[in-house]
Amino acid sequence: MIEFDHVSFSYGAKRVLKELNFSIGPAERVAILGGSGDGKTTILKIILGLIKPDSGRVLIDGEDITTRDEDDLREARMKFSMVFQEGALFDSLTVKENVAFCLREYTHLSEEEIEEKVRGILSTVGVESAMRLMPEELSGGMHRRVALARSLVAFDPKMFLYDEPTTGLDPINADNICRLIIDLAHNGKGFIVVTHKVIDALKVAKRFLFLKNGTLFFDGGRDELMTAADPDIRLFISELSCGTDTQGAGILSQGGRNV
């Protein structure tokens, strides 16, 4: 589904991605880990064609999207559903209008049909009661849930992309979002979660990519990640062994949640 072929990218003089090579299948559940500024979000933006790499090719279902212009990228983007960091809800629209955005843009549904559909999707993510609220009235967890709901309405995506879906949330809300991510990945749909929270990555993903200084430093499964010897990866994993983090310790003791 997604193939990165020697992809490099720079923000001005700062080289963020260096000759990145990997491929991800449509049903895979992948977590991209790494420190801040290591290019995790940049990878998602490149997949969606929001930014073009300096060099290399990005193949989506075998087609190179790096040579396409903005108008031709729409078809490729419709294969994905993206939830940006902190939701990226439209500030001037209510929750209902945010979720109904694509319905209004691309369908001719009546107001009653839109209301019914939006209500149904919001109840799926557990925020039906927030339908009339404005984004600024939502808590962090509700914000992410509404963003998830909006991404579901968009199209019938083959794959979900999540940018730091649990950052800034308390453990209970973060856990709820992780459950939603797993629940939404049914019918063989895969997802890519970009995060720096190993604990949440372990809850949802089966394959882990670890970025370091713009290169793919690690690519493997849960067991390989947990036994990796690299000090940077060990530092990330040490989050799990913090005495206060009973949830993380639980995951460790079980060898990870079976998803």
Partner: protein, 263 residues
């Protein structure tokens, strides 16, 4: 020295790229006026924010500009024994020059800064990227309604501002300058000829278009968090004002020539 040359070269290249992006955005934003999809609701919302929202401040500022101008001219012209020309000079100054420029500057400060900060925050909050992911062209959705709104609202506000300024001028001319109100209005009627009205109406269209394009471009170019947004908002207002006064001079020179005024 070599490093400094490189820096200048880089900046020059950035400037050229920025200009290219600006022209492209302005062109695509303008093209959106005549190509589908049309975002009527967004356009009406922008017109409400820009037009109705600016009404009171335009009235207030125009009133005092007209009063101050009339006061200055009454004082100066009376020393020359030409006080009866106050209405005529106030009328020409307001309709041809001050009205369009004052309204455009106020519009840039109030609406332009709002456009730049709103779009900047949408860029930084990934809302613009979300639009692109949803297959919606941000230029058509965000820029075109603001251009249409400015094209319609700046001239309307200018007409309102001109009228209020002339009223302010009338109040001072009659109550402070002790002139005849009837004579004041007959002088104003004299200057409401095609040349002056055409000049006074054409300028706001151009100013409105420039303000909308500059502020949308600056907003959509915002980078780097709150500091970046502050810079883009400041740049939007500063560049708008600079371009308003430069364009005003160029238009004035061109219109004087085209309309056959002798200098």
């Amino acid at each position: 020295m070599h490093g400094r040359g490189n820096t200048i070269g880089l900046r020059l290249r950035e400037l050229i790229y920025d200009l290219q992006d600006f022209y492209l955005l302005s062109f695509r934003g303008s093209l959106g006026i005549v190509s589908k999809p049309f975002y009527f609701k967004d356009t009406i919302e922008q017109m409400d924010y820009a037009g109705a929202g600016s009404f009171l401040i335009i009235v207030l500022i125009s009133l005092f500009v007209g009063m101050a101008l009339s006061l200055q001219l009454s004082a100066e012209l009376s020393t020359l024994g030409l006080k009866m020309y106050t209405g005529k000079v106030v009328g020409i100054s307001i309709i041809r020059e001050l009205g369009p420029v004052v309204v455009a500057v106020v519009y840039a400060g109030r609406v332009g800064s709002g456009i730049a900060s709103e779009l900047g925050s949408m860029v930084l909050g990934h809302q613009v990227d979300t639009l692109r992911v949803f297959g919606v062209d941000p230029t058509k959705k965000l820029v075109t309604p603001r251009i249409v709104s400015a094209l319609l609202m700046v001239p309307v506000l200018t007409i309102i501002g001109d009228a209020v300024s002339l009223l302010g001028g009338y109040y001072i001319a009659v109550n402070v300058g002790h002139q005849s109100g009837t004579f004041y209005w007959s002088s104003i009627r004299e200057v409401l000829n095609f040349e002056n009205v055409f000049t006074g109406i054409l300028k706001p269209f151009v100013f409105g278009y420039l303000i909308a394009c500059i502020c949308c471009f600056m907003g959509l170019s915002a980078r780097g968090g709150s500091v970046g947004m502050r810079q883009s908002t400041t740049r939007a207002v500063v560049f708008s004002m600079i371009f308003i006064v430069i364009t005003d001079f160029v238009l004035t020179r061109a219109l004087l020539y085209i309309l056959g005024f002798s200098i």
